[in-house]
Amino acid sequence: MQSTSVYTRDRCVTGIHGLDEILRGGIPHGSTVLAAGTCGSGKTTLAMEFLVRGALAKLPESCAHFTATEPSIKLLENIRQYAFFDMKMIDSGKINVFDMDVLYSWLGLDKASFDLDDVHALIKAIINIVHEIGATRLVIDSVTTLCYKIKSEQLIRDFLFTLGKKLASLGCTTILISEITSATENAHWSSFGVEEAIADGIIVMGDVERMGHLLRFLQVVKMRGTAHSRAKHAIELTPLGVMLTPMLKWGAQHDKTNKVGG
């Protein structure tokens, strides 16, 4: 009988309950993953837990979080309600949180829109920080807010492609949070339409409406380098972190809409 061996890429084990099973072991190492979701769907919590699990791993990883949607103080206050998070991880430098506004000021990028030079300066700064702290897990929350400053679609494409390539070369697995207004099957997973094409993976998060109640869901629609489930999973944001279970098939039949206003 002919033996076959299957090549599998090294994985970044997210440590998130159920997600690694969906991804058959985790996110392929060095990938750039778009976490696209409607407001209140749990994107920031998922991303922060991704960093925390890395910091708490047997071989602890250094982690970085760039926040553009809310000040870091507010982010940390909100995340402190979760039992999986401990401020000591921030104090000890296992998780490093950076305000994008501060970074912009530092780079002299206090302006409404970025040109090519600005984008390259921003990429260089992010890469330098990741290299400096040896980060192997990175979150940018959100890439949508960041890309609002980049006016050309081509420039957004260059920015994301170059950033993703350089982060991969540093062995850094990245989650880019994308804010979307609808998570229906026909929706774009990103505001500018280019993020989803460049990302190695796309995790969609949203709400299913069932008889007037909103049920959070998560669905991996794309992940290069691994087989994965593409089923819709119901999620709960518990003090222990994100928990997932497959969504009831007959329940999905009853969905009227997945759309949630911002």
Binding site: L215, A234, P239, L240, T245, P246, L248, W250, G251
Partner: protein, 201 residues
């Protein structure tokens, strides 16, 4: 005898023979003996089998259920070994304003996946080694949920807890439960406690 309620000892005897942690027991009763049969199932599991766990309240609010258990003499120590998931009270104005810290609220009985995840979360937090999950009751869930979805849910529910060696106890009034759900329960459950045939003169 438990205060003012005579427990059905035959249920305790049946549980002594049949119960294992990966069992799924369907408990059938009628309208008139619902609480008696429920208590007669719960008490021996806690007293004789030293179990704790999760009690999902879809038929009455958790605070009301706790008061009923207290009224028959179930001790605070026993009550504290149970975490209650209340699917009823969020739909009642002021219903979630209760004094018990071991009650968790889910917005609605149609949030079936949330109930499952909340139960799994509680079981991850519990210190009890031998655990049960009481689902009270299938007929109450059938008021709100499509029968195909409910049948699918019970299939997932029972297998999820069987895999984790958590005893499922599924309470049910059969004549208020859709035939498809009933047929599936018969198929998935490993054991049956049948007190559904109640004659009223």
């Amino acid at each position: 005898m438990y205060s003012n309620l005579t427990l059905d000892d035959r249920i305790a005897e049946q549980l002594a023979i049949d119960v294992s942690l990966n069992s799924a027991i369907q408990v059938r009763f009628g309208n008139s003996n619902a609480f008696n049969v429920t208590a007669s199932t719960l008490v021996p599991l806690m007293r004789d089998h030293e179990m704790g766990g999760v009690y999902i309240c879809a038929s009455v609010g958790a605070a009301e259920r706790i008061e009923e258990f207290k009224s028959i003499g179930l001790s605070d120590e026993y009550i504290s070994r149970i975490q209650f998931i209340d699917l009823v009270s969020s739909g009642i104005l002021g219903g979630t304003d209760v004094e018990y810290s071991n009650i968790h609220f889910v917005d609605s009985p149609i949030m079936l996946e949330s109930v499952l995840l909340r139960t799994l979360y509680i079981l991850r937090m519990t210190t009890s080694v031998r655990n049960f999950v009481f689902l009270d009751s299938v007929n109450a869930l059938a008021i709100y949920n499509d029968e195909r979805m409910l049948a699918e849910y019970l299939h997932t529910f029972i297998n999820t807890f069987r895999q984790r060696e958590v005893l499922s106890v599924i309470l049910n009034v059969p004549d208020q439960t859709p035939p498809l759900v009933l047929a599936n329960l018969d198929l998935y459950c490993t054991d049956l406690i049948d007190r559904g045939q109640v004659l009223i003169n």
